[in-house]
């Protein structure tokens, strides 16, 4: 049911000083696929996310989007290419309103000379932000309300809604169900399914393994900067997944399929 390979990294590595954060990691993401990315703390998940989102440049390896090699020099370039990233806990500016956050970095300006000076079409953005979030399946009381006045669940919903509304190819979600109650987490998983059916490639990073097993099509396990397992979700049980993450279950090094 998955489409073509939409996003791919080959053999990427990244070191911070003497610490090897990523050691020759390769993965393929297909259109309409939800890929789970799991691993213990320090396994290299965050680093891989930063490489995929254009925030960090890898020391070695290649990145392909739709088969074309890319070299992101800023998050802006990856965003413009259709890759949205939701960072863990820090994706929104709390003092800005919902619509300001939804449009941050992509503001609509008023027409005419004032627009040339950077004056904002705030009303239009408020209306559109509200519609965008609703389309994704997220109900937010008011898009003119500041994010600091929202509950944790609502904030997360806005962050995910923004990512899904803007994403054209790939959406990377780093711990999107963190700190959420069961009902809100359920809503998030629902939004992920919606993104998948839109034909987006979704990378889902989480410590909450039941969520990973529930929502993903395939799971990639990182350990100490290396990808130690890459298999369809159906092949994992809760126990085998934990065992693979911690290393108590031996894995065979994959030689790129």
């Amino acid at each position: 049911m998955s489409g073509d390979v939409i996003y791919e990294v080959k053999n990427v590595s990244k070191r911070y000083g003497s610490v090897v954060a990523l050691d020759g990691a390769s993965l393929k993401l297909h259109a309409g696929e939800v890929l789970g990315l799991v691993g213990d703390n320090g396994a290299g998940k965050s680093t891989l996310v930063k490489v995929l989102s254009g925030a960090h440049k890898p020391d070695g390896g290649q990145i392909f989007l739709d088969g074309v090699e890319q070299s992101w020099s800023s998050p802006r370039q990856a965003l413009d290419a259709g890759i949205e990233t939701l960072y863990q806990d820090s994706g929104l500016a709390p003092h800005l309103t919902v619509s300001q956050n939804v449009f941050l970095g992509r503001e609509k300006l008023v027409r005419g000379p004032l627009g040339a000076l950077g004056f904002l079409a705030s009303k239009a953005m408020e209306t559109e932000a509200h519609a965008d979030l609703e389309r994704v399946g997220i109900a937010v009381p008011s898009s003119s309300r500041s994010v600091s006045q929202l509950s944790g669940g609502q904030r997360q919903a806005v962050a995910i809604g923004r990512a899904v509304a803007w994403a054209r190819k790939v959406i990377i979600l780093d711990e999107p169900t963190n700190h959420l109650g069961a009902r809100q987490a359920g809503e998030v998983l629902h939004v992920i399914q919606a993104a998948k059916s839109k034909g987006l490639g979704v990378i889902f990073i989480s410590h909450t393994l039941p969520h990973v097993l529930e929502v993903t099509d395939r799971i990639v396990v990182l350990r100490l900067g290396k990808i130690v397992k890459d298999a369809p979700t159906a092949e994992f049980t809760s126990d085998s997944l934990i065992g693979t993450i911690t290393g108590s279950i031996q894995t065979i090094k994959l030689d790129g399929d």
């Binding site: 998050p75 994706g91 003092h95 941050l104 992509r106 950077g118 004056f119 904002l120 008011s142 006045q149």
Partner: protein
């Protein structure tokens, strides 16, 4: 979210709007202004006069300019301590240029005077821009925290202004013709104050209505999120510190016009007045919060208190104590407000 949830949150939103208006920083500040005016004018009837208003507004002008720049800096999560020293340096360089390069005699009037005024202003603003660029360079390139970066440029600016002026004011007020720009006899608003008000309104619109202002809030609120949204944080901060420097340069010209001389110490300590105005105006030193109207009223309250205390015969030394109380009260109100918001 269900319909009853939505209805409930709509009701609480309306309630919140009402409480917001009542606890709104600008509403409170206008109230404080009115209260101060009533108290001072009942103790000293002469307080309620065009002359007093002009004195207050003339004092307000120079600090309003740097406080407006400081508002951007503080909202972005930084601080600019160099603006006071920049007033001195830009005034000195401008006075030196007018006297030694243009050969302007201080008694000039009319058309010739406006030419000299224009060039002097450009030089003054250019000096401010240079200080702002230096601040941004130190902050972006070497990751020096704004407090230390601007503390060092403050010292350097003060040093240069003493070196250039050889420690003495350039020019003197006694035969200064340009001073008519700031003459109190016109009405409460001298020309210089009108220029300041125009600048404040324009810059205020940019803060609240433009992308430039929005990015300033976004960076101060969460610089990580701003960066992730594709904003070039370093480039934006450069613009913010250059704006602060340029306005300090303009304030330098303003103070030059008032004193009739470029004096190295003419802006000393003014950065603290500006920061006080911004904080009284409701901004948070943590960044992400602040309003231009708050800053403007904050600065006005500072100088109303100062003039009022002198007019009712309180020793000027008390001014600092009163300002300290105002700052503490402003921050206390702010803390209570944010606590209310969190429990709402």
């Amino acid at each position: 979210m269900t319909d009853s949830h939505l209805a409930q949150s709509a009701r609480s939103a309306r309630l919140q709007q009402l409480t917001q208006l009542a606890t709104n920083q600008s509403t409170i500040l206008v109230g404080v202004m009115i209260l101060l005016t009533i108290v001072f004018s009942s103790l000293e009837p002469k307080f309620l006069s065009a002359l007093t208003a002009n004195n207050i507004l003339t004092d307000w002008g120079s600090v309003a300019l740097i406080a407006v720049g400081q508002t951007f800096v503080i909202i972005s999560g930084g601080i600019d301590l160099s603006v006071g020293a920049t007033i001195g340096l830009s005034g000195v360089v401008s006075a030196w240029t007018m006297a030694n390069v243009l050969g302007v005699d201080q008694t000039i009037k009319g058309g010739e005077a406006s030419g000299a005024l224009l060039i002097g202003t450009l030089v003054s603003v250019a000096v401010g821009v240079l200080v702002g660029l230096t601040n941004a360079f130190l902050i972006n390139r070497f990751k020096i925290v704004p407090f230390i970066a601007t503390l060092s440029t403050m010292g350097a600016a003060l040093g240069f202004s003493v070196i250039i002026s050889k420690g003495a004011p350039i020019g003197s007020a006694s035969n200064f013709a340009l001073i008519s720009a700031i003459d109190p006899k016109v009405n409460p608003f001298s020309w210089a104050v009108i220029v300041v008000i125009i600048v404040v309104v324009i810059v205020g619109l940019f803060l609240h209505k433009s992308r430039f202002g929005l990015y300033t809030y976004a960076i101060g609120s969460n610089s990580f999120a701003a960066r992730a949204a594709g904003i070039n944080v370093e480039r934006h901060l450069t613009k913010v510190y250059v704006l602060s420097g340029a306005l300090a340069g303009l304030a330098g010209m303003y103070v030059y016009l008032r004193l009739g001389a470029g004096s190295p110490s003419s802006g000393t300590g003014r950065e603290l007045d500006a920061i006080a105005a911004v904080v009284i105006g409701g901004a948070s030193l943590m960044g992400g919060v602040g309003r231009m109207l708050g800053t403007v009223l904050g600065a006005l309250i500072l100088f109303t208190v100062q003039s009022g205390l002198i007019m009712i015969g309180v020793a000027p030394d008390w001014k600092k104590v009163v300002v300290a109380v105002l700052i503490a009260a402003a921050v206390a109100v702010q803390t209570l407000q944010s606590k209310n918001r969190r429990t709402a």
